[in-house]
């Protein structure tokens, strides 16, 4: 009813979670659903149907999902009481026959109206078989003209360009591209979305958002945690596939893309693809100089001694998997030609932080002696994506006093302080987007392909040339080689 809905609200829908007994379901999906329920954004006709090999009953599933959220509101137990569970192997036809029966039953008893969001929280090798089985069992298309069936896919989207294409081909045999919601939870973060607001809703930033004023851009995705229980996956992926190919490329695209004509999915995705297409790929002989790969050794993080990567459980003692990547890229277009984009990510760095920093050029002439400007750095605009979400502008100001001294000061905008509204978690935002059918913050297949186009030559060069693997003690900001990468052009990594 017009005038009543100030927020988007999910339509009736059944969320089918493949990999329902896994970590992602408990750690991310359930807490996000609980928040949506607490905000009254889930409809009465809503349920979750969990599918996994683990031999649970409906009650097991309900109890476990209810318990995943600490201090949940009273409505959460009510929501979970309608959950259903299907135990079975994805290669077993009967699993999908039973799933079909459960979903039909949910339509009748809960009112999910034939709408489905299939969430593939499984290992990537299961994506294709699950999609095929959904098609074969009549669960890939909506039951009626007003209904919908969507599929949310977790990264990785392939291991390289060829496997990404192969995965797309498999999925497209069953689903249209419009039905596919490739999730990169970074896009669901408020501050990533705020990049759009900052750039395209303000007159003061966009005019300086280009090569004329920007000297360099640094994007950092730092984690303080190690490989944890993901060793089996991480050994195959490494930081390049785990973070660079998706999160870093998406943040880069949002930061550097041209303004879209409209704030709608197609326009934004078109501009992101254009930007990624403009990123210069590195020739094999350039990779060693432009991309640093490294692995953490034993060290101290947050006051605790932590093992080196090769000492982690499940990791090969001779592993050459990179846990750190620093690289320099150039975007060959009118806006960014010649501006280095420094990207870095790593595990076991001193703290968890994600930020984008635009470092501006120095003034053409500084009319002050060097003694007066000893504390003056280049102007910088920093977008803090996590934690402590906000924006900082750094500029020079006169130090109060009789002498004329200038030093850099920070002008700070903090989300927590500026808004009363609670910031939704990324998964909360993206789940609701999938329910209401807004693909803006999901990744289109051509974005995936362009990201692989940038990353694949690097991976190939590493494989062909046994690229050096630097070491860094856990708890430091990476190897010396990464410092040298930026110092060559007179820059320094920030200490975020």
């Amino acid at each position: 009813m017009d005038g009543l809905d100030s927020e988007r609200r999910a339509p009736p829908v059944a969320l089918v979670v493949f990999g329902a007994s896994g970590d992602l379901t408990a750690r991310k999906l359930m807490p996000s659903l609980e928040r949506l329920a607490a905000r009254r954004l889930l409809p009465a006709g809503f349920t979750v149907v969990g599918v996994a090999r683990t031999e649970w009953t409906d009650d097991d599933f309900r109890t476990r999902m209810a318990e995943t959220v600490k201090n949940a509101g009273p409505e959460w137990r009510d929501v979970t009481s309608r959950f259903r569970y299907v135990a079975g192997d994805y290669s077993d036809t009967s699993t999908f026959e039973r799933l079909r029966g459960v979903l039909d039953d949910a339509d009748r008893t809960i009112g999910t109206a034939g709408n489905r969001v299939h969430y593939l929280a499984t290992v990537p090798t299961a994506f294709g078989p699950v999609a095929r089985a959904l098609g074969e069992h009549g669960m890939a298309r909506p039951a009626h003209a007003d209904g919908f069936v969507r599929v949310v896919i977790e990264k990785p989207f392939g291991r390289d360009l060829a496997t990404a294409h192969a995965l797309d081909a498999e999925l497209h045999e069953v689903f249209d591209e419009e039905q596919l919601y490739r999730i990169d939870h970074y896009l669901g973060k408020e501050t990533v979305q705020d990049v759009f607001a900052l750039r395209f809703a303000n007159a003061i930033f966009e005019p300086v958002w280009n090569r004329r004023y920007v000297d360099a851009v640094q994007i950092t995705v730092a984690e303080s945690v190690g490989v944890g229980h993901r060793a089996a996956f991480y050994e195959q992926a490494g930081a390049m596939r785990d973070i660079v190919q998706n999160h870093l490329m998406q943040v880069l695209a949002c930061t550097a893309m041209e303004p879209p004509a409209r704030f709608e999915a197609a326009s934004i995705r078109d501009e992101k693809v254009k930007l990624l297409r403009a990123v210069d790929t590195l020739a094999p002989d350039e990779v060693i100089g432009e991309v640093i790969r490294a692995q953490y050794e034993r060290g101290w993080v947050e006051g605790e001694e932590v093992p080196g990567y090769r000492e982690e459980e499940g990791v090969d003692r001779e592993s050459r998997t990179e846990t750190y990547v620093a690289m320099r890229l150039y975007v060959d277009n009118w806006r960014w030609a010649g501006v280095p984009f420094y990207l870095r990510t790593g595990k076991r760095l001193p703290k968890r932080v994600t930020e984008v920093a635009l470092e501006f050029k120095s003034v053409p002439h500084l009319p002050f002696s060097s003694a007066l400007t000893r504390g003056l750095d280049r102007n910088a605009l920093i977008l803090r994506i996590q934690p402590d979400e906000g924006i900082t502008l750094r500029f020079g100001a006169k130090v109060p006093g009789q002498a004329f001294r200038i030093r850099t000061v920070s002008m700070d905008f903090s989300y927590g302080a500026a808004f009363v509204e609670e910031t939704p978690d990324a998964y909360e935002r993206l789940l609701l987007d999938a329910f209401v059918g807004d693909p803006t913050l999901f990744i289109r297949s051509d974005e995936v392909a362009q990201s692989w186009r940038i990353v694949e030559p690097i991976l190939q060069s590493w494989a062909d040339h046994q690229a050096p693997l630097a070491r860094y003690p856990a708890g430091t900001w990476g190897p010396r080689a990464a410092d040298q990468l930026v110092e060559r052009e007179g820059h320094q990594w920030r200490s975020p």
Binding site: E304, S414, G475
Partner: protein, 331 residues
């Protein structure tokens, strides 16, 4: 600013850093409106004695709104029993008013034992506020040359007076090679330095700078060495001409001769019962000038406020320090 109000407190023993960081974030989310943090720096107080840490914290609270900071106080005990696992932590959100504006800032106190106390740098990073300087204040002793804490600091804060012996200058000089050092003792000596320099201003006194015959500096260990080092360096004096004398208050006496052979005495001193510094120049056959200036506020907070306004490398101090090392080695 009045003593800040404690708005919220969290404290727990045997926790991990992640717990403390989470508590810090939670404290800043009170209903109905989140508190706005006002910080101009991250100040890390490193102590091995609880009393020193308390003293430093008291001074910082007194400083209050002038330099609102996230204050991380680390009380470290590397020799504690390994069985005392984890960190004892408390977090406070403080608020108040300065110049009519609301300011909010945070105190984090960590008690760290065993091996973790030898890797304090790994504790600091999660608490630093991006883009604000990290000042590490060593209140109970100077860091070793290879102390990893130095890498985490943008500026090192010390008080040479606290260390009580002249041997500290060598260590301090080595620290300056790695990080800018702000010395509270040096800040307190500013009136003496300004007054002595001022005595040589003008055409009558300036010719005496060319031939300084002797310098006598009295005071406590630390301040007198720094001041003597400064004079020796600025006037390029060979160290035998600089005499150091123990005393309660700092005083300086410079004897110089003008090119025409006239003698001049330049003196800056504080008498026992006075809260002023006196500067006097007696020039043979010429004018006698005298200046009296009140001593600045002697509270630790004043010294801190001044020091924290100058968070950059001070080459004059560094040269004075190196000269002080030479003077101390002369013993």
């Amino acid at each position: 600013m009045a003593e800040p109000l404690t708005l919220s407190v969290w404290s727990e023993d045997g926790v991990r850093v992640a717990d403390v960081v989470a508590a810090l974030e939670d404290l800043r989310r009170p209903e109905p409106m989140p508190a706005t943090r006002t910080s101009v720096l991250t100040l890390v107080v490193v102590a091995t004695r609880a009393a020193s840490a308390d003293r430093a914290l008291a001074a910082l609270h007194e400083l209050g709104g002038r330099h609102p900071a996230r204050v991380l106080t680390i009380l470290s005990d590397p020799d504690a029993a390994p069985s005392d696992a984890g960190i004892d932590a408390s977090v406070r959100l403080l608020g108040g008013e300065a110049d009519g504006k609301e300011v909010w800032f945070e105190d984090v106190e960590l008690c760290v034992r065993d091996d973790a106390a030898r890797h304090l740098d790994s504790l600091i990073e999660p608490f630093t506020i991006a883009d604000l300087p990290v000042v590490v204040w060593f209140v109970d002793g100077l860091p070793a040359d290879d102390d990893p804490l130095l890498a985490a600091a943008d500026v090192v804060l010390v008080d040479a007076r606290d260390f009580g012996d002249a041997d500290c200058f060598g260590s301090l000089a080595r620290v300056t090679r790695r990080r800018p050092v702000v010395d509270l003792s040096w800040q307190r000596l500013q009136p003496w330095r300004e007054l002595l320099a001022g005595l040589f201003e003008g055409p009558d006194a300036r010719p005496f700078l060319g031939d300084v015959r002797s310098v006598r500096v009295a005071g406590r260990t630390g301040p007198r060495h720094l001041l003597a080092g400064w004079v020796a360096d600025r006037l390029r004096l060979p160290s035998p001409e600089v005499h150091l004398v123990a005393g309660e208050h700092v005083s300086m006496r410079v004897v110089a001769v003008a090119p025409d052979g006239r003698a001049g005495t330049f003196e800056v001193l504080r008498r026992d019962d006075e809260r002023v510094v006196r500067a006097r120049a007696d020039l043979e056959g010429g004018p006698t000038s005298e200046v009296v200036v009140p001593l600045p506020d002697a509270t630790p907070a004043w010294g801190l406020a001044t020091a924290l306004s100058r968070l950059y490398r001070d080459p004059v101090y560094e040269h004075a320090l190196r000269a002080a090392v030479a003077l101390a080695d002369r013993r």
